[in-house]
Amino acid sequence: MTRAPSHRGYWIGFGIVVGLLTIAPLVLPPFWRRFVTEILIWGLLAMSSDILIGYTGMVSFGHSAFFGLGMYGAAAALLTVKPPNLWLAIVYGLVGAGAVAVFVAYFSTRLREIYFGITTLVFSQIFYVIIFTWTDVTGGENGLTFSQPGLGLPGLGSVPFTPDRLHWFVLAVVTLSYLLLRRITQSPFGMVLQSIRENEPRTRAIGYAVERYKIVAVMLSGLFAGLAGVLYAIQNKFAAPDFVFFLVSGEVVIFNVMGGIGTLVGPIAGAAFFLLVREGLSRYFEYYLIPVGIIFVLMVIFLPQGFLGFLRRRLNQ
């Protein structure tokens, strides 16, 4: 089998999906327009976590910290700098998430398996408690609200965000992030991460500084999670401590497992599935997390590769 046709098929599929998502706001009613934008943002967060779960074999239960710091970083930029600037919000958010990621990465990568997971969980709770109790700066339980910045392009002036423009902006950021992450996972660096997942002692024996690779992986993952946080803050015009709470991290892991880890696209599909099920069920049943939780447990038991992994195996047969 030659590589070219499958590659062409991939790019055609990619083009179709991006094309559909581009025209989505033009054909969908307002509610679903916003919903698709939200899926993209949560998908970016899930994808960032996939770098660790799927490619490096480290399950992070602390992605809410990166996401939340991205949110609060954006809030800081939008509240302190007048007039509010979109790009500055992104820079602040990435700096916030990046700083946390450096801290978390340095300590947690020394540990393996469940200990890594527990450490990331505990770190995210530390940031949650700090944000929750430091009312003067973070607004405490109520969080912070701010006005949406305009979509400013260098040299072209600034236009206010409409839901459509916001959707396209989010789509552009998520698509670029996806391409970048895909490139990274296929690079020699990404190969080393995957070899750490497959066999850490052997990777070390070959001569790779495993710890350094893990630290970079966590930081990378944290930066993209922070970017998702910035997008969410801009879409919703608030930052709240709820998004730093570890349940968000748990949902991110659920997205990954449902969609299929180690695929980048899978986690986005998982996020879409989760949010759709939630949306569909919550109209009839307030406690939609009960069926969602049961589906999730069943998937962990019977479909550990997720939907995408399952499909892929089916197609390969």
Binding site: I118, Q125, I126, I301
Partner: protein, 290 residues
């Protein structure tokens, strides 16, 4: 020094009482981890479930001690069913998958409690209403009784593991699953029984904690997190270490609460956990492995 000695001593007593309840939760968690490599993310929710079953039983019978036993039995049966349906199929897979499965269970339990019992806290009545003078305040005897009772339950578990026939089965399964199975020990049933015991202990702590802090549907996450910290600080799967660590962590938090707000005092135990993981990853209260 701005903190009077009396206040420190009162906090010491508080820390010991909370530590014993936490030890009861954590010893179930560590037992489950030690024997089947299951990281039970839903453990705190079993505490919560016990609290609610206890509250319902008190409403029906009016007797706290009956409620304690009923809650422990009901949650033990539930735990056994849970283990058989969700954890038994995962046996031999990566421990991480057990975290995922039990996290899902935790979500379900928490939302179920919200659905059935609503968002408001239930305060259970204290079965022992007497108080005694402790410096500047009237300290309830019930708190002291709680600590003693929790200690007695942990002691009973320890005796059972050390001397009982089935306790020896459990320890044999912990040491070598395959060998135990070869000697005729029904390993899958030992796993189920251990999960049931852990669940019963969690439920008992939920009922005991009811009069102190109230039973809410969100208490599970808090208990899970604290029990995790205790179990890791004490050394995964190490019963004695968990008990010491529970008291150690609770005392740390009690003293920290003198200086900062109780919500912030939690950070102290988080930091204790991270320092432990960095410098003594096998646990604070276990001998250094060779």
């Amino acid at each position: 020094m701005g903190i009077p000695v009396e206040q420190i001593l009162v906090q010491t007593v508080n820390g010991l009482v909370n530590g014993m309840i936490l030890a009861l939760v954590a010893s179930g968690l560590t037992l489950i981890f030690g024997i089947m490599d299951v990281v039970n993310f839903a453990h705190g929710d079993l505490v919560m479930l016990g609290g609610f079953v206890g509250a319902a039983t008190i409403a029906a019978t009016g007797n706290f001690w009956v409620a304690l036993i009923v809650a422990a039995l009901v949650v033990a049966v539930f735990g056994a069913a849970l283990q058989m349906s969700t954890l038994r199929p995962l046996l031999g897979r990566d421990p991480l998958t057990t975290i995922l499965a039990t996290f899902g269970v935790s979500l379900v339990l928490q939302k179920y409690a919200l659905w059935q019992w609503g968002p408001s806290a239930r305060n259970l009545p204290e079965p022992i209403t007497g108080r005694f003078d402790l410096f500047y305040l009237q300290y309830p005897w019930y708190r002291v009784a709680t600590a003693i009772l929790a200690g007695a339950m942990i002691g009973a578990l320890w005796l059972f593991l050390k001397r009982g026939t089935y306790g020896i089965w459990i320890r044999a399964t912990t040491q070598d699953r395959v060998m135990a199975s070869a000697m005729g020990i029904p390993v899958p049933w030992v796993h189920t029984a251990v999960f049931a015991i852990g669940a019963a202990m969690a439920a008992a702590s939920g009922v005991l904690f009811g009069p102190l802090g109230g039973v809410t549907q969100t208490m599970g996450a808090d208990f899970t997190l604290r029990a995790f910290i205790v179990v890791v600080v004490g050394g995964m799967g190490n019963l004695g270490g968990s008990i010491l660590a529970a008291i150690f962590i609770s005392l740390l938090e009690a003293y920290a609460a003198l200086v900062v707000s109780p919500a912030q005092a939690v950070i102290v135990s988080f930091v204790a956990l991270i320092l432990t993981l960095l410098f003594r990853p096998t646990g604070l209260f276990v001998p250094t492995p060779k």
